[in-house]
Amino acid sequence: MKSLDVDWKPLALVPVLSLVVLPFIGSGSTWLTLTVAGLAMGMIIFIIASGLTLVFGLMDVLNFGHGVFIALGAFVATTVLGAMGDYTASGSLWVNLVAVFPAMLAAMAVAGALGLVFERFIVRPVYGNHLKQILITMGGLIIGEELIKVIWGPLQIPLPLPEGMRGSILLGDAAVEKYRVIAVVVGLVVFGSLLWTLTRTKIGLLIRAGVQDREMVESLGYRIRNLFIGVFVVGSALAGLGGVMWGLYQQNVVPQMGAQVNVLIFIVLIIGGLGSTTGALVGALLVGLVANYTGFLVPKAALFSNIALMMAILLWRPQGVYALSR
C-alpha cells in the first residue's frame, strides 16, 4: 500500500547531521552536550510550533496570532506556579510536578478558551484567504499582547524553575540539564498523540476535506463547524503548553515573547513542509541542532544559521521536507 511508504530521508537527516559534525567538534563530551541540548531545544521548539502546524496543516489557517497563546500559557503558569510556592520549592521532582502539571493544564485550558474566542471572532470570517488571515491574526496578536499587558502589566515576570527540575545530570564531562530531559518527554507525548490522532482516526481526513470543500463535507453528514473549532482550540492549547515549557526554560516571561518566537516557528514550519507534523518535528530538531553546532564551531554564523538551514533544505526540497503529507 502506498500510504505505508515512509519517506525516511528527512528523518535520517538528524542522526546524519550529528555524526557529520562529530569530527569537527573533536571532544566527545562536548559533542554529547551540544547534541543532547540541541535535540531537547528542538523538542521545546516543536511543542510551541506543533499547534500552528496542526492549525495550518488541517485548516489551512496561517495564524500569526499563535504567539499570543504561547505568551498567555506562560503568564498563566506564572500565576499558578506563583500560588503553589510550597510545591515548587521542594527538591523532589514528583512534588514539583504536583504544581507544574496543574499549571500546564490551566495554561492549556485558558489558551484553549481564548482559542475558542479567537476562532469565532478572528479566524472564522477569513477561512480560505491567506492574506486576510495574515492581517487579521496579526491584529489578534497585537490585541492579545496588549491585553496581557493590561492584565499582568508590561513588566517581565520571573518564572523560576521548580527546585527539583534545576541542575544537570552529569555524564562524565558532559552535562545534560534536567529540564531538557523533561522537555523531551513532553515533546514526545505531544508528537505521539498528534500523530495517532491524525493517522489513526478520521478526524484528520475530515478536516482536510473540510478545508477544500466545506459544503461537501457537510453534505456527507459531518458537522464541520465543531471540528474546526475543536482543532483550533487544540492548537491554541498546545501553544499554551508550549508557552509553559518556553517560559520555564527562559525562567521569565514577557508579553512580547509570542511575537519573538514567531519567525522561529515559521522557519521550522517551512523546513518541515507547511502543515506536516513529522516535518515540524524534523525541522525543529534540525534548527535546535544546527544552532548549537554552528554556535560552537563558527559563532559568527550562528546569527544566520536558521536562514541558511532553511535555504539549504529548500534547495533540496522546495516544498519542505514533507510536503503536506503528515
Binding site: 475530515l206 476535506a209 477544500q212 463535507v217 457537510e218 453534505s219 456527507l220 458537522r223
Partner: protein, 241 residues
C-alpha cells in the same frame, strides 16, 4: 400505492439580493426516480441545494418522510439518509480516492468497516475508482472525477439520492454503467432525484418528471407522457428530443 418521500411546497430561495426560486412545488415519490429538467439557469441546482440546506428557503415547506426539514442544517439533513452529488462534483482533490470514499462512508472509521461486496459492485460499475484507489483524486480526468462523485454517494445505502448532472463529460460506455447503477439502486428501494441534460439518459430511467423554468416547476407528470409527446417537449424545453 406510493407515498412521497420528499415534498417541496411553495419554496422560495434568495441568493444575496437575487430571488431565484419563486415557489417551487415538487413531489418525489418513494422508491421512484424523479427527473428534474429545465434550461440553463432555470433553478434546478438551486432547488437541490435548497433541499440539502445549503441555501436556506426564505418561504415554503420542505418535508422528508413527513418531517419538516426546512430548519435543519446540512449535516442533519444528510444524516437523515440523504446522499448528494453536487454539480461541481465536490471531489476532495488533495485526498486520495480511497480517502474520499472513506469519508463518504459515515459509519466506517476504517476501510475494513466498509461493506466489501458493495465496494466490489462499485468497482465494477466505475472501474476508474479501483484503478486509482491510492491516487490523489485531484489528478483524475474530468470523467473519472464524475465517477468518483457518484461512487461516493452510493458507498453506503441511503434512502434518498440527489444527483446533479452526473453524465456530463462521461464517455458513452460509462453513461451506460451509470444508468445500470441507478437502475439497480432503484430496485433496491432507493429513491432518486436526478437533474439531467442528457435526455436519452433521462428517458431510460425516469419514472416521474418535473420541468422547471424561471424558478418554478412548470410541468410535473409521468416520464412516459413527456417522452411520447414532442409537442409538450417543445413547449417546455424549447426543442424536441
Amino acid at each position: 400505492m406510493t407515498t412521497d418521500l420528499l415534498t417541496l411546497s411553495g419554496v422560495h430561495t434568495h441568493i444575496g439580493a437575487y430571488h431565484i426560486l419563486h415557489g417551487v412545488d415538487l413531489r418525489v415519490p418513494r422508491g421512484q426516480l424523479t427527473l428534474l429538467l429545465g434550461r440553463n439557469g432555470a433553478g434546478k441546482t438551486t432547488t437541490l441545494r435548497t433541499i440539502m440546506g445549503l441555501w436556506r428557503a426564505s418561504a415554503g415547506r420542505i418535508t422528508l418522510a413527513g418531517r419538516d426539514i426546512g430548519a435543519l442544517d446540512t449535516p442533519r439533513i444528510a444524516g437523515l439518509g440523504v446522499a448528494y452529488v453536487p454539480e461541481n462534483m465536490g471531489i476532495f482533490a488533495d485526498l486520495s480516492v480511497k480517502e474520499n470514499m472513506l469519508l463518504a462512508a459515515r459509519s466506517a472509521q476504517r476501510l475494513a468497516q466498509i461493506d466489501g461486496d458493495r465496494l466490489q459492485w462499485i468497482f465494477k460499475l466505475f472501474p476508474a475508482v479501483e484503478k486509482f484507489w491510492n491516487h490523489p483524486a485531484g489528478k483524475l480526468s474530468g470523467g473519472q472525477k464524475q465517477m468518483l462523485a457518484v461512487a461516493r454517494a452510493i458507498v453506503e445505502p441511503r434512502d434518498l439520492l440527489i444527483v446533479d448532472e452526473p453524465s456530463k463529460g462521461l464517455a458513452p460506455a460509462i453513461i451506460n454503467n451509470m444508468i445500470e447503477a441507478f437502475g439497480q439502486l432503484k430496485a433496491s428501494g432507493v429513491t432518486i432525484l436526478l437533474v439531467e441534460q442528457n435526455f436519452n439518459f433521462a428517458r431510460r430511467l425516469g419514472d416521474t418528471v418535473a420541468v422547471m423554468d424561471n424558478g418554478r416547476v412548470v410541468h410535473a407528470g409521468a416520464m412516459k407522457d413527456l417522452a411520447e409527446d414532442e409537442q409538450l417537449q417543445r413547449s417546455l424545453l424549447g426543442l424536441a428530443l
